[in-house]
Symmetry: C2
Subunit: 344 residues, 2 copies
DNA sequence: TTGTACGCGTTATCAG
DNA sequence: CTGATAACGCGTACAA
């Protein structure tokens, strides 16, 4: 079975009895073409089922029409939302999305640079923690590869980025618990290589400080944004004496794990221990009770970031740092603490 | 800030004092090059930080080194595993993965064809339900675009594919419930546009038939593989009088929804109602109780399918239809039914 | 308004 | 073993 050779711009030109250049003009909607010629060319294109050869176009325009999405093994729901937003913006555009999950950005920056170079991308979207990597950014800039960042926490003012205020959001979450009457509030940090983990810790600490609640280091546990890591951390917190009456997990996966850990200990949520998550990912609605959480508009963020990236590719002015609003969603995993046993 | 022009094969040739063709030979590991020349060229490449221009290579070789992954808004965990498997196999290869989620394969096949044509792909991986679309397959074959299919249920023997035995798996799941003593077993079907939904229903019916349990149509509800749709379907089943003592959901998202619905009704799982899922996705371990489910090796399937696709691209023989093993994972969401009230 | 000549960076052909 | 030359398909510069 031979593949029949794909028809080229020359074939179309012959059939329409014009020059190749004219066909090119019609394709790219350039001016100075008679309407009659246009329609003739269009018909020829249709008849030959002509599709421009992207490689050839790319060669002359030095464009690949490929945009890379760099991320690092985060939770499935995060990746999916990220891709959804990016693809949504790309709909109808000529650009295609190449997914580039990397093992560890910090470990081998040069390897990633090589990957990006060889991938012949027109631009890249950087998700955390790549979005905070100075070396990577420098290399990209040197290589002349435009990029936009999602949820950066540092090095702002260096090109387009979209983020939310992690500090304020975490503070809000903690204040919600404090307002309910909690005083012993544990926190489970996320992957330390993600700067958001620090930002969210800061928000937690600010909330405590504002209410004059002393910070206790044993109330701070570290996880990796995964369910498993959350399970381990939550068990540790619940084994304290006295245990916290509320736990703030830095993402929903770990919050779900906290609920599971509580159940293991025979504690019920929110009666014995309140749980608050972060992200409003699918999992927050799937577990029981549904999680009080901070909605992080990941899809919108990806959409906006891609939008800014396309603007850069069109040669428009570089966008700045956009901040998107978050929202505290109060569901059923948080409530007032049990009344303290009266002090005799 | 001017971007410095990327160095080309000619620059390398000049520096190494050889012809461009020789550089090309070294790059592609062609024979007939002196070791001395080789090393000289390699050094020049390193010095100039040379990376071949993929567009130019693609133009002459008529290859884009792009592989598309076509899928249709399935559950996040499924997509992620799919991508993971495909990317895992692509690691170290020159090919890149372009994600192509489509709205509805059946609705506008021609649009999808156009999409694939314009995307300039070397090959495509078809996930359900695209993997069962005859028109799409015909077009791809006519266009000379190689493809491999994941979980096809029809049109086998038409090129590489990887699947599992959905009928047998569903039968096994149902038999597990029957063995526990259940007789009133409800089922929640998946999206009707996915052929797996029918296959799994057939397995369920076969299990009932084997045990002489009459099939009741009111025990069959339809969902769309989403949590929300599962919630609606489960509520319906649980509102029956008498309600089923066990429910088989055709994926884990809907099984999780069934657990939630049971809790709404004040029923506990598995004491009042057993729940069995399908896929062994993350969600099956995150909900409480963890779900008894069928492990579907999605990641392996994608890996294998990609492997077969690469073989085709290398010009090797087309692979056939591979069947991967499934496995019933018994966890805590299934157990024996409550003893029937004694018939006086 | 339309066409011609040339170049983009790489590889295949064929000669040396 | 190595190199000159001609493609690959399209867009740019310049003519006509």
């Amino acid at each position: 079975m031979r593949k029949t050779r794909r028809s080229t711009i020359v074939d179309v030109a012959k059939l329409a009895d014009v020059s190749a250049k004219t066909v090119s003009r019609v394709m790219n909607n350039e001016p100075h073409v008679t309407e009659a010629v246009k329609t003739r060319v269009r018909e020829a294109m249709r008849e030959l089922r002509y599709t421009p050869n992207v490689a050839a176009q790319g060669l002359v325009r030095s464009r690949s029409y490929l945009i890379g999405l760099v991320y690092e093994k985060p939770s499935p729901s995060y990746v999916v939302e990220l891709q959804k937003g990016a693809l949504e913006r790309l709909h109808g555009e000529r650009f295609r999305l190449v997914v580039l999950p990397v093992e560890s950005v910090t470990e081998r920056e040069d390897e990633i640079i090589a990957l990006l170079r060889s991938a012949a991308l027109d631009a890249v979207l950087l998700a955390p923690p790549a979005s905070d990597n100075a070396a990577l950014m420098r290399e990209l800039r040197e290589g002349g590869l435009p990029f936009a960042r999602i949820s950066p926490t540092r090095l702002l003012g260096q090109g387009p980025s979209v983020a939310m205020d992690d500090v304020a959001a975490a503070q809000e979450a903690a204040e919600h618990l404090i307002a309910l009457g909690h005083r012993r509030i544990g926190i489970i940090k996320g992957d330390p290589s993600h700067a958001a983990a620090d930002a969210r810790l800061v928000g937690y600490m600010q909330a405590l400080a504002r209410s004059g609640i002393p910070l206790r280091t044993e109330m701070i546990e570290s996880g990796l944004f995964t369910f498993e890591s959350g399970l381990v951390a939550a068990r540790r917190l619940l084994a304290l004496d006295p245990p916290p009456t509320a736990i703030l997990a830095q993402n929903d996966d770990m919050a779900a794990a906290t609920v599971a850990a509580a159940r293991e200990c025979g504690l019920s949520v929110p009666e014995d221990v309140s749980v608050v998550g972060f992200d409003d990912s699918d999992i927050s609605r799937v577990v029981w009770p549904p999680l009080t959480t901070i909605r992080q508009p990941v899809e919108d963020m990806a959409y906006r970031a891609m939008d800014m990236l396309l603007a850069v590719l069109r040669g428009e002015a570089e966008g700045g740092d956009v901040l998107l609003a978050h929202e505290l969603l109060i569901r059923r995993s948080s409530g007032p603490p049990r009344a303290e046993p009266p002090i005799p």
